[in-house]
Symmetry: C2
Subunit: 320 residues, 2 copies
Amino acid sequence: MSKGEFDFIDRIRTAFATPLAEGFVGIGDDCAILPTEGDHDWLISTDMVIEGVHFLRHDATPEDVGYKSAAVNISDIAAMGGEPVATFLSIALPKDAQGEWAERFIEGYRTISERYGVALLGGDTTSSVRDIAINVAIVGRCKRGTALLRSGARVGDTIYVTGPLGNSGAGLRAILEGIERTVEVERLIQSHYRPTPRIAEGQQLGLSGRAHAMMDISDGIASDLGHICKASGVGAQIELDKLPLSTELQTLCAQQGWSATSLAASAGEDYELLVVGTPDLAQHIDCPLYPIGRITEGTSIEWLSEGRKVEFSQKGFTHF
Amino acid sequence: MSKGEFDFIDRIRTAFATPLAEGFVGIGDDCAILPTEGDHDWLISTDMVIEGVHFLRHDATPEDVGYKSAAVNISDIAAMGGEPVATFLSIALPKDAQGEWAERFIEGYRTISERYGVALLGGDTTSSVRDIAINVAIVGRCKRGTALLRSGARVGDTIYVTGPLGNSGAGLRAILEGIERTVEVERLIQSHYRPTPRIAEGQQLGLSGRAHAMMDISDGIASDLGHICKASGVGAQIELDKLPLSTELQTLCAQQGWSATSLAASAGEDYELLVVGTPDLAQHIDCPLYPIGRITEGTSIEWLSEGRKVEFSQKGFTHF
């Protein structure tokens, strides 16, 4: 749910003179890391969900908003290789959402929290004047020193994703364009409203010793891979033909004349994991892992289709 | 900044079936407690600040809003006897607040963060449609097992506060009524916009072994003391004549015909600590501690003025 973000926190972090203590990791990764004296590091992240920016009250059910508000935060813990422990829910509700809407929101929030064994440890409730504002802060943990940052990618590493891409983007487009809700279209819409945080996969990858960098796919790999490359000081080459695509996505895209590849690469909100590791990583992990490219020298991201370089822009991919 | 809250989180916590692990403390205190294997417990709290509910953009400077957003969270750590470590700032800004307003907000946020040695470890920035929404999550820590909860008050204990009450409420009233800003009035307004979290005091009290329950005064002792009594299963008796009042408050109240006692007991947002402990506690602490009453059997709060019972209501105190 990072649509509408602008680069503000990033700009101000340099303004903060307080240096971090040893072992702490701050702004710039999916979670901050707070080391303890014990066997675990704590992972903390926070995400805001704003009516009119991240959801429209007449499109999303309250249950879906509740589910997704927790899901995107749990996914931030997955992105570090951690297990979620507890959330803190702040919610500002205008008068017309303080009754049924709120109850149903909590129902969705609770559903995913119980599914992942995450406690609700605190929060804040307040009125708002007009729009609903939600903030979730999440605490997770991982074995000491095993958290996977964005900065560990090495030249020669393989780039993987944990599942099909583009489903969420196609689901959103189906909602916005009012496309008839067949069983397949409903499945894509579910991917948008109820993404699956890859906790078990993230933990396996974190403990494998063969994964070097990881994040979750919130903005689409075209954008997210840039964060890993920048943090690691490397470039990347992606083979677009290898992006895993679901049957539902391919069927709908064929019907509507949409580019499945563009949705898969840039629509975002899939919340699959984007993983960089050794070329043999998949053999040491018992969850699906799809190789989609490799880490290169330099700083740029190259896109290949049928062996030829293609250019990526707002309009999608075009051959040179 | 708890104005406008309604009892929603409290109602839903029972709906959460996930039981808490040993040593964890969840909803119902100033902070949640997350135990570690080491010498410290982690303390976590979160507070939301909404335009039009907690501040008006034309009254408060952006610096003040930034300062107070961090201050009220730091105060939650003080209320447990902890030291603040880091904050996570989420901020949703409409287009007309994304430039200068945001920069100045951060200036105030940074000022108090540096004063208390608190790092900014993460956050989220997003657009909003119309109103500014801010959420701060804070992480602090205290020596293992020393966090002061609301539930430890015992019959016979003395009730204390760490400083004068009512300044913030008088400052807010002066703003709202457009009262001439003399030096004294400015000081009261500063108490409202830039409260002082009592971190050093809270830590001393937490380590004293003689303080049994504590919280910070956000809604006024008339309301806040009720939380301690309910959590501890006790009653209380307050001597209104003992409430510490600043000279500025007394002067302004005399001029305007306001009741200083009512402001001190019920206006809130003073962010002094409300402490319950042994009758000799003040002798073991080297910060100001004002005894204002005692813990009694039963469940009710009695108010005394000049030795006689008085009744507290929305309109203030009235003799029986």
